[in-house]
Symmetry: C2
Subunit: 334 residues, 2 copies
Amino acid sequence: MSQKLFVSAQEVAEKAGVSRSAVSRTFTSGASVSPKTRQKVLDAAEALGYHVNHLARGLMRNESGIVCLIVSEISTPYRSALLRALTLQLQNSGKVAMLINTDRSDGSVDLALRQAIRYRADASIILSGLPDKSITDLCLKNGQRLVLINRDDDREGPLKINLDDADAAARIATAFVRAGCRKLAFANSQAGTPSLMAREHGFVAAARALGMDVMVERFGHTGYESGRVVAQQLLTRKERPDAVFCATDLLACGFMDAARHQFSMSIPDQICVAGFDDIEQASWSSYGLTTFAQPVDTIAREAVSWLVAETAEPENHKVRLHADLVWRTSIRGG
Amino acid sequence: MSQKLFVSAQEVAEKAGVSRSAVSRTFTSGASVSPKTRQKVLDAAEALGYHVNHLARGLMRNESGIVCLIVSEISTPYRSALLRALTLQLQNSGKVAMLINTDRSDGSVDLALRQAIRYRADASIILSGLPDKSITDLCLKNGQRLVLINRDDDREGPLKINLDDADAAARIATAFVRAGCRKLAFANSQAGTPSLMAREHGFVAAARALGMDVMVERFGHTGYESGRVVAQQLLTRKERPDAVFCATDLLACGFMDAARHQFSMSIPDQICVAGFDDIEQASWSSYGLTTFAQPVDTIAREAVSWLVAETAEPENHKVRLHADLVWRTSIRGG
DNA sequence: GTCGCTTTTGCAAGCGTGTGCAAATGCTGC
DNA sequence: GCAGCATTTGCACACGCTTGCAAAAGCGAC
């Protein structure tokens, strides 16, 4: 009964005593309407509670204004920080974010992208997983833009935003050595995503260049609990490391907690720790974790400014961003 | 040039040698199509890469399948956990989440709701702020459903989901007393949202009933840093509290860190601490925070099941959920 | 084959909007 | 008042889909 439909441009036109095109033009920026009729339309619209139907507009313009964010592990500190930056940036540019959570089963990135297509999203930003080539091709062919964040992939078409993971790893290796550490370790998850592996390989290579080996230990997903497990594995070795680079801050937090509370070790006196992401908890005084900052605002800005750009993009566009080292108290010296 | 439009039902129909209605019916559940033509359509659709245009479908059906999530402080642990639960639940029910971040200026909840209307969202879930009555009325009048989570409001129409904040506060007060604490304190932010105030008032009332006064201190937003500041304020008093209930876990974390590292206090020996939300960090061994768990999954289930329900909702629907006490090590005894 | 019935199919109208085109209007200068 | 021009306005079609309705097709029993 209260299923009275939304008020349409037609009704506004009648109330304002103008044609329906006039009201349409009033709400289309850059259209030609006289100030007089424009005002009449605005008044009528206000009185009736009219709002342009973006579904219909999207249908006509072939541009929905929707951008899909395809993301897993949404409630992780780093992911949610990036999500925040992206939504704000999108809203700034007059777009609206459609959020698709791929935490369920796998292959769900493809499912998510399919959903994006159904809603004729203007673009999709992928923060997790990597979709099939067949479906990205479909997106691209239909003029949908694609952004891959921290998914080091080499296909043509999408914008790829990455960090200088390997370089950061090298920097932290020298920092460890400068702090007098000689027995280096790397703590990773088993996820094996390109950026995690880049950090690992970069660290191992840099250490080798400095004449040292690295104990590498991997476990589970990229979370706090995994950090604890890896600590268990590393700190029960007959030769304990005196410095450990954790692939993410969450791993580092878990590692630090286990090292302190379970192995009664003192950080940074007995062991130096570094992380990656600069999540909020890294700055909490229980951790004081030295880490690399993901430039989330820059990432968001780059992604959004590219996908709203008028010009057809250069075919194989890559952006490589720098991760700043945030020095705190989990490494000696400084 | 590559602006080749998406493939339409028309093209699929031609390729399959059937009418446009046939392909439409193939993708409409519960429509009458013979298995033979259905298969022909599916084959043709697959070959052409056809996907139903949900913009057009939404236009016709007057049901977009979109649900708006209106939320601020997205990257906060509790909020992002709730966000995660909501998106999963929505996807489960065949809906898709449109995420609107209201972190910017104020009045932006109204802006967000306006956006929801433009996209003809079937429903909106509001996790922050409280919209004007005028605009909620507009939503309701147009058949859009509204869910308010933890925003204790008394208007007609929306579903309101709340926790038993005051009751939880009372429970923690007795727990403190049972642990031998006599000088109680409450740490709050200045946000003054209904649920925060309910916790504060509930705690003060319960303490009074037990014959005790409560030192109340409020500062800034609901975050870690505010917790530190409140600790500063409470622990420099000439009479220090021996138990503090923090309105949120983030406040509690900040409080604990300041108490330990700045005031060298031992928890729970010298001071007992409790929080609210049960964010992930509460379980980290640096904190071991005794706290109340927000039943995020239940909240999400209640919200989504209500808004996808067929039946016209009862006019003034409220759901009051229970917050379980998660006992850890920040309170003596147990 | 024919009748009565159910299932399937195509037609066409309609959802609310944007926009090219031609007609109408307003304005300027004589 | 009129020609000449720029601006505004309305008409009508298009966008891709759903769905009521009537015609067509299938089917079982005689």
